[in-house]
């Protein structure tokens, strides 16, 4: 989960995307590992595969495309500097640990690791969402957030029927897809991806 902090740290959107892709790809098979042999059913394998495919390949691809469309390389002067946001991320992780202990985790096998990780990832996602100006970085933030939730989902694979899990993934995918379409439109309309331009509607 150190990747989160990297995501916060780096300024090059391209690399951030790569990081997120790796993260997604890693997350995919985790459920299988968690549940060892007996957990492996056709459904879960399929789900894992789909997850890897979508998060590892498809979404990054889409984002790269829109990135190329709006040729921007780096997040210039974010709302909060990089170093502070890294610190924030660390703080978030700490909070997550506190939270999960206070909630009293330690149910399933890896849960006492997974819960804080999940919460931390969610928080990091939030940090990215709220501190970055570029529309695309916000998309990434959203993705990180989703990853965090997905991590939590690890705990209850068997609770999630195949349909639902597929649905979640599909939603995620379509969501990113639509959002990137919009970002492209934004790029065309405002000739930049800077969300500071998007403040004409108020009150």
């Amino acid at each position: 989960m150190i990747l989160n902090l990297f995501a916060l740290g780096t300024s090059r959107i391209n690399s951030v995307i790569r990081i997120v892709a790796v993260q997604g790809a890693l997350l995919g098979p985790v459920p299988l590992l968690l549940h060892g042999a007996e957990g492996i059913s056709g459904a879960s394998v399929l789900a894992a595969a789909a997850a890897v495919a979508l998060k590892g390949l498809a979404i990054p691809a889409i984002m790269r495309r829109s990135l190329r469309a709006a040729d921007i390389k780096r997040e210039v002067e974010p709302f909060v500097g990089f170093l502070p946001s890294v610190l924030l991320g660390a703080a978030g992780t700490a909070v997550a640990l506190v939270f999960s202990t206070r909630m009293g985790s330690g149910g399933g096998a890896g849960s006492n690791l997974i819960i804080p990780a999940a919460i931390a990832t969610v928080l990091v996602g939030f940090i990215i969402l709220t501190t970055r100006w570029k529309a695309l970085s916000q998309v990434i933030g959203y993705l990180v957030l989703e990853n965090g939730i997905f991590v939590f989902g690890m705990l209850l694979v068997e609770a999630i029927p195949f349909v639902v899990e597929m649905g979640v993934l599909l939603d995620l995918f379509v969501g990113i897809f639509v959002i990137s379409i919009i970002t492209n439109h934004i790029n065309e309309a405002f000739s930049s991806m800077d969300t500071r331009e998007l403040a004409s509607l108020k009150e």
Binding site: F79, R102, F126, L129, T130, T131, R132, W133, Q138, T195, R196, L198, A199, S200, L201, K202, E203
Partner: protein, 664 residues
Amino acid sequence: MSNMVMVLAAIAVSAASGLPSLLSRSRAGQVASALVLGAGALVGVAGLIPVFGPSSPISLVAEWGLPWGGFSVGLDALGGIFLLPVFIIPTLAAIYGLGYRDVRDHPEGGRGFDVFYGLFVAGMALVVVARDATLFLLAWEAMALSSWFVASAESDKAEVRRAGWVYLVATHIGTLLLFAMFSLWKASTGSFALVSAVAMAPGTAGMIFVLALAGFGLKAGLVPLHMWLPGAHANAPSNVSAVMSGVMIKLGVYGILRMTSLMPRPELWWGWTLLALGCLTGFAGIAWATGQADIKRVLAYSSVENIGIVAMGGGLALLGRSLGRPTLILLGMGGALFHVWNHGLFKSLLFMDAGLVIHETGTRRLESLGGLLKRMPVAAALFAVGAIAISALPPLNGFAGEWLIYLGFFRGVSAGTGPGLPAAAAGAAVLASIGALAVAAFVRVFGTVFLGSPRSPSPSKKGNASRRSAEWLMTAPMLLLVLACIVVGLAPGLVLPAIGAAAAEWGGLRNEGLTLVGLADFSWTLPLALALLVLASGIYGLFVLSARRGRKTARPTWDCGYAEPTPRMQYGASSFSEFLGRSLSFVAVRIRKSEPPEGAFPATGSFSSKAPDPVLDLAIRPLASLARRLMPGMRFLQKGQTQLYLAYILVATVILLALGAATS
């Protein structure tokens, strides 16, 4: 039961009375609507008469589709008192309206006017018969909204829109307060049914009383809740003002009386509060009336005053109930209810008359009127009668009503010792002062509008036939009202039993020996009136005779030998009330702007004074504008930054989690 049905039928008919003119937006449709309304009114009155007899209250409950309560209605003497004007006066006003707002002259306002007028009447009637909170609120709001529609019929004028808006806001607060009131009522009695509650926690009862006082007081126009009233009355078409002032605001009083009669023995402070409010309302209302420059605003403020008088009677009756003194209950409540009728008669008369003047001259400003008696003698005579009646001068009905209240006060004095009840009788002094001011206010209006000589060349409209008929249509209802004023004034004994029955019912004395008729002996009114008439007319006759002897040479007013007294030198309305205003400055604010003439041969000089409403113009408007300036201050919370919005979500989550952790 059958009369209940008749009354309900009447309500239905009047609700539907607008349809003809909606279907055919022609003169015929307008006339038809008025006729339908009248027919409904006749049925209603016919059904109403028996309730004043010894018959016990009638009620009727039907199932209703709403989750609570039933369609439960009832008729009793108390309701009858208020229902009678509801049926009669709007009909007269509708006939008047045929002449005043001929649909051919008012095509724009014509649309839907009669529809809402009908709904207005039906709503008012339903308010009185409703015995279930939900039904009551329904009728109440129907009344409020439709009255708003008809009152802002001329909403092209910005002034009308402003007044209408104030009225709408005021009536909405009222409704919300009633929401709270009835909710508490249900909480303490267990149902929305408006039947007398056996017992009630004093705290809750007091709360309900206060809420009723506020919610209904807004409609009635108790100071300081009257702020909507002058504007709305002044800017509504005169036939509407007549109904609003003559009938609608009384239903606010009705609400207060109904709730107090339903609740168990009132606490002492209720009566004091109502009495004090009544005194304040009456005095302030008439004091403000004396300063107004707009004939209809004068009438509107005098409505406030009259509501105050009614409230004084009610307060006296409440005191009587909590102290267990039937005489005070009967006299106070009897006086209040009697005054409700009387005010309905002469105030609608006066508003119609004012409408006649406006229709003739096209202005409401007193300063530009004058000398109309020569031009419209009938209107002048009718106005004179109305003015005498509303100033509560003998021998007309206004005096008969207040006489009861005075009697109540005097009884209060002679009854018992120690402070408390006798102290309440000080209200009599306030009432006297109000009476004197009423004389001042109405002499002022009568004098400036009808007497002297015209202050401005008013457009003399061509006297074609349609206008003749219009004037006739407008005058006929007024004649009826004047007749009623005189008859009731000369023989109050005719209506006293009905009023007595209602008062007894309110105080729960329906079947006790003591009756209002027994307490108040009106046998003196007729002889007194005759004596006055004989003496005055005799002397008048002598004058006329000796005037005949005199040489007939028309010469201007001597006026201490002024060479050329011009109309503009007359004592105008504002100058008339100037001295009075100065002595009343402790209650009536007057804004004066004057630049006195300078030097030996002054070129210019000007004086202008206007009387703003202390509550609306000096308190509420400033506060409202302040709020309007402050509210946007909080808008910085939403300046369009998505990041900020997302942060809100995070913050909300954290706070809620913290809350949850704290409360767990």
